[in-house]
Amino acid sequence: MAHLGHRVDYLAGFCCPVGGLAAGKPRVLCHENEIYLSNSSEFVYVYDQEGKLLKTIYKFPDQVWHVELLPFRRQLYILCARNGIYCISLDQQSRLMKQTDGEEGACPSSVFPIDSDACIFPDAALCAFTLLNDIVVTLSQAQGKWWLKLHEFLDPEQESLPCRQISQVGFSTCDQTGDEGNALSSRFLPVLCCASSPGGAGPEEGLWCSGGFVLEEPLFSLLFGIDAAMLNSPMLLCGFPDGQLCCVPLKALSSSEADDDCSDVAGQDPPMKVLHHLEEPVVFIGALRTEHRALDDADDPQLFGDSGCDCLVAVGHCGKMVAMKADRREEAKIPEVREYYLQGPILCAACGGGSRMYYSTHSDISAVDLDWVSNASDPESVDNSAYVLPPVLSPASLSICSVVALSLSSRASEGDSELLALSAKGRLMSCDLCSPDEGHPASLTPERADQRIKELLSGIGNVSERVSFLKKAVDQKNRALTSLNQVLNVSAALLSNLDGQRPLACTITASWSRLLLRDTLTVSCLLENSSDCTLEQGWTLCIQLFTSPCALDEDPAESATTYTFPIAQLLPGSKREVTLPLGSAEGTKLELPLTISCALYYSLREILDSASDSYESLDDLLPDDSPGLSPDKEGICLPLSECTIDILQCLRLEDSTVPGAAPSIATPSDPLETFLKAARGQPDPSHEDVRDSLLPKALDTLGDTCLPPSVASIKVASELLKNALKNFSEETPLCCAALQWLLAENAAVAALRSQDVSAVRGLAPDGGEVQLLVREVAVDSLCPAGPIQAVEILIQSPSLADMCRVHQAVIRRIQTLVLEQAAQGSGPPDLRMQYLNQIQANHEMLLKDVQSLRDRLCLGEEAGTTAEKLLDVYRQLRNPSLILL
């Protein structure tokens, strides 16, 4: 890439949003000594280039999308988002300014709020407009169609309205309705400009100021047809966000059915014609003069003024550019259309009268020259018959980065000599494009030295801005790499220590706390970072709650809830605790046991997003084909721990536990008594929860609420427990130690420890009462060697469900205990197998009874008595209770 010699001057700085200015809407216009600038805020600035000061600031009610100047009327037209087009007379405002500013030149600028009187086109749907002498062409979007409307300015002294609509045409681009939500399309505004034929243009200056141009023959006729040329009709060119480049003659801006309802049916051929499809949002339409005029032509000012550009260019956002030029070869009279691919994304572009087009990307402004013959090293060698467009373009860099609005100064009388640019940081600069070989004076006069120093300073400023931009980009990428490195460190640390002490651990405990005047069961997860890496922003702690499907549940669908907590920063050695409420005592039913699993999640998107802020898209950092990183599921998930919360952890122990004394636990009552109670029908609302019990629904009819407390007992050989509970102090009786062991994960266990209790009473989360009693018993008739010392754990609860939950929880603990013991290789004592067999046979008989009773229940026969019998059989099944040796 070649570098052009140039000089950059900073003119002024304007405010810009934090992320920098976005391309598309900012605009810089220059006429004579004044620069008109909008930076997509609600302000329009007028800057005096000669006096180097800000003359005026106009304030509009909303964001300014587009600015056009009508030089001969000294009027500025401003498209204000969601409002319409405003018109400001420059003369009038300068008078106004003189009146308000008593001291001349004391205040460089003053803000003029523009009120709605100045709005000449109130239309909220306007997207773009362009001016052509006394004509305003507007493009708006309504009812799923684009509408081009032609308005004529009326003499304000004679007419009440500022303008009159002449005609309109509605049309739809192919994928416009479908792309309504497309982010790429909606970010861009359509581009509208006017191309005149050599005879049909008004004052050229006005055309040039509003982005229009004159296209010379035969290109005009070839592109737009002989009718438009003979009618001297300027052509409107529209570049749409979907990539279509359309043209329509200004004089035939009416569909065939003027404004009828039936235009959808009949209006199949509006005068709109598609010139090209860029397949990416059009950001610029312009024209170039690629061939040098013959010498004799140049002498004739008349001819010189009349002929215009000979090449039409359009540029898409992603870098596709199309150039159209008349083919000079004799065989075919068709325009040559050539597509080029520039490095995108292209923020803005500009061309002047010459053969160069300037375009800006995030990192640079480049110039491409479409006059390849005069640039070729040996013009003689170029075949004259192939005198069309260059096959490839070689962009020349200007080394000015992130410019969002470009304009070629019209002060330059001939050719491109000065480029005005507005950078994303809101700086307005002018770039002198004159060739540097104009003079390197041998001796520096003081004036020249002064000038030279200024040049050097502004050069330094330019380089420094470029450096800061590049630095920022490098920093962002470094940050992204650092975070990626840390993520990988953390992942490696966690994954390599799967069994041992994990460097990152998550401890889960359940406890009761009082939240908002209600007792609530909360789960707290303590994330502890004992590794030597920091968990940076981007990590998320995910906590997933599974309610394990109860085997007896009719609908065993597993349900899971996930909570995520972003971790701002977790330094090595620090902890972070999060708590989740599980449910209040009175609130929704809590399904116990709960399985809670914790995991750390890192979203890669986070890195990529931070690395690519508003400037760069994700694609810059990651090529599209990078494997396994589809944009939807990028992330790393590291499982930390999993634990089960059961009812033993959630019991609220009552203070009334009597130390040492065994509470009266009712022995299983007589079935007959139970039946009689049921027959009496005493409702007891506190026992509602039996409903989700083991029994089929028919039991409800019985009035299950008056059942006696359910009791279950588990016997564990003392030997077994003693072995397991070695770490409890010697003094603690075995029963108390066993109880403490059972309730070890309960928050209230500390109170137990000091008191040596062997029985507790507690409340389940749903309010049901549960009693736990541990006592030592001797089990005979099981072992030939004599009675076995055992510990009996008695569970009693009026709610069958709670009893079952506690039973399940106790069994789960004993199960793990037995498994640990078995691993240590202690064998069971001798047993009387015959006795055991008999127990098993009994149980099988009972199970058969259960089956038949359940069948009868399902049939609905004598529900009450059957349920009663069933309960009785269950009770027998539990007796003799489970013995673990």
Binding site: D134, G225, D227, A228, M230, L231, D261, C262, V265, K333
Partner: protein, 491 residues
């Protein structure tokens, strides 16, 4: 009320509210918007719900049948008939005449044994609108008014359909019925214009003129009556009257169209909203001033009024080249030919009028514009289809060929003009140029021509392109457009 369960006592009010709301919606949107049918259906389903009948999954037609058969409560009669009238309007606007007829058969409760064309009108006439009780809720447009409008619209619509189908006598009687109905002046003028069209096609030009005159008396903005009148005068051979009509039309078009006359707020549903067909739209589309000017100029030239023709042609050229305030129709259905052809006709008129220098200048414009568009040699491969039509010419080549013909014709006119000026040297130069342009074309037949069936439409195309000259000579300038032989190629 939508949230409440449907109940008969409140339904009368509910349906009236629905009726009023729909009337306003129609009036606001200036046309029948989508979704009204669903709102009516919803209302009917609620009526059925109140009677304990399920109305789900039924089409609107079936719903009406069920409602009108099952709901017999006397207090429901008036609101249901009112809603029925609105439904008829919706269907009429959508041109669903079958559904409308079926609905009014149910509403009127009679069986009419008439032909299909008159059945709907008879049913409408037989339909007795239930009397509104004093206690009934107020409506913004009474059912009686709506019935009148429906009757006019149905007659107008069916008359238009008859006119389109060529069923002229039936169309005439239906349109006359419509003219006797209840409608705005603008619609009345349109009906009279349609009657004029109809009678003209029936071969009764005087009667047509009578009706067109009445149309203009009723509403002078009805400009298509004026252009129709011009066509009738042309048929009658009354050139003066025809040119007067065209001039009047042009003058009327020059002044900006006046906006629609104020609408009586009592008539929210009007005939304009119910009758809109493509035929009507094309009949009453506003023509461009340039189109009228062109036919004025052309008619003058054809009638031998060369002086007037020249004036009109010069006006037309000025109109075409003026600023964008004067829009020109460039689309396919425009009455204007392609712009170079307009220029050629103007040149021809000037030449006939003896303004040779002006004719040469006009032709120079065409020659200058086409110069860059014609290649040195235009080689066109073409073939003949089975029916003798020319195929295989690309649109691009077609346009180049047209340019060749325009350019050659311009040279021909210049040659004639120089002859008229007595400068035979210049004349010969231009005639030679004319031939040179034509000689650029090389027609190559691609051999699909079957020898047994030579193309009949283009006899002059075989061999050297001398036939082109014949073609051009044959087109006596101004009598008809350049390149008539051409059009069989183009089409």
């Amino acid at each position: 009320t939508a949230g409440l369960p449907a109940a008969l006592p409140s339904l009368s009010l509910e349906l009236t509210v629905l009726y009023n709301a729909l009337l306003f919606a129609v009036s606001e949107s200036d046309g029948l918007v989508e979704g009204e049918a669903e709102r009516i259906s919803h209302g009917l389903i609620r009526v059925l719900e109140a009677c304990g009948v399920s109305g789900q999954d039924l089409s609107t037609e079936e719903l009406w049948q069920k409602v009108l058969q099952d709901v017999t409560a006397e207090e429901m009669r008036a609101p249901l008939h009112r809603l029925g009238a609105l439904q008829g309007a919706v269907w009429l606007a959508a041109n669903c005449l079958g559904s409308v007829t079926a609905l009014f058969r149910l509403l009127s409760g009679t069986k009419v044994m008439l032909g299909a064309l008159y059945r709907l009108l008879a049913l409408l006439k037989a339909w007795s609108v239930p009397a509104e009780g004093d206690a009934s809720p107020l409506v913004v447009q009474s059912t009686k008014d709506l019935k009148e409008i429906l009757w006019t619209s149905a007659a107008f619509l069916q008359g238009l359909q008859g006119l389109e189908a060529g069923n002229l006598s039936a169309a005439l009687s239906l349109l006359q019925e419509a003219a006797a109905g209840f409608c705005s002046k603008r619609v009345l003028a349109q009906i009279y214009t349609c009657i004029g069209c109809c009678t003209q096609q029936m071969g009764k030009p005087q009667m047509a003129l009578q009706h067109l005159k009445r149309a203009l008396q009723v509403d002078f903005q009805c400009l298509s009556a004026l252009s129709q009148a011009a066509a009738v005068y042309r048929q009658l051979g009354e050139t003066d009257a025809e040119l007067d009509a065209l001039a009047l039309l042009y003058k009327a078009l020059e002044t900006p169209a006046q906006e629609a006359v104020s609408i009586d707020p009592c008539f929210l549903i009007r005939t304009e909203l119910l009758v809109h067909t493509p035929a009507l739209a094309s009949l009453f589309s506003r023509s461009h001033p340039s189109e009228v000017k062109y036919s004025l100029a052309q008619r003058c030239l054809q009638a031998g009024r060369v002086g007037q023709a020249v004036e009109h042609y010069l006006d037309l050229l000025a109109l075409l080249q003026e600023g964008p305030q004067h829009q020109v129709p460039l689309h396919g259905r425009s009455a204007l030919p392609r712009t170079p052809e307009v220029f050629l006709e103007a040149a021809s008129a000037l030449e006939q009028h003896g303004r040779h220098q002006d004719a040469i200048a006009v032709c120079e414009e065409i020659i200058g514009r086409t110069g860059d568009l014609i290649p040195e040699t235009l080689r066109i491969e073409w073939s003949c289809g089975a029916g003798g039509e020319v195929t295989g010419i690309l649109p691009q080549e077609r346009e180049s060929l047209r340019c060749v013909v325009w350019r050659a014709a311009a040279y021909l006119h210049q040659g004639r003009a120089w002859t008229g000026l007595g400068d035979s040297k210049e004349a010969i130069t231009h005639f030679t140029r004319c031939l040179n342009v034509l000689l650029r074309v090389q027609l190559v037949s691609t051999g699909t021509v079957q020898p047994a069936r030579p193309p009949t439409t283009l006899p002059a195309w075989e061999g050297p392109p001398w036939g082109w000259l014949v073609l051009l000579q044959g087109s006596e300038p101004g009598k008809h457009r350049q390149g008539n032989g051409w059009q069989c190629l183009g089409d």
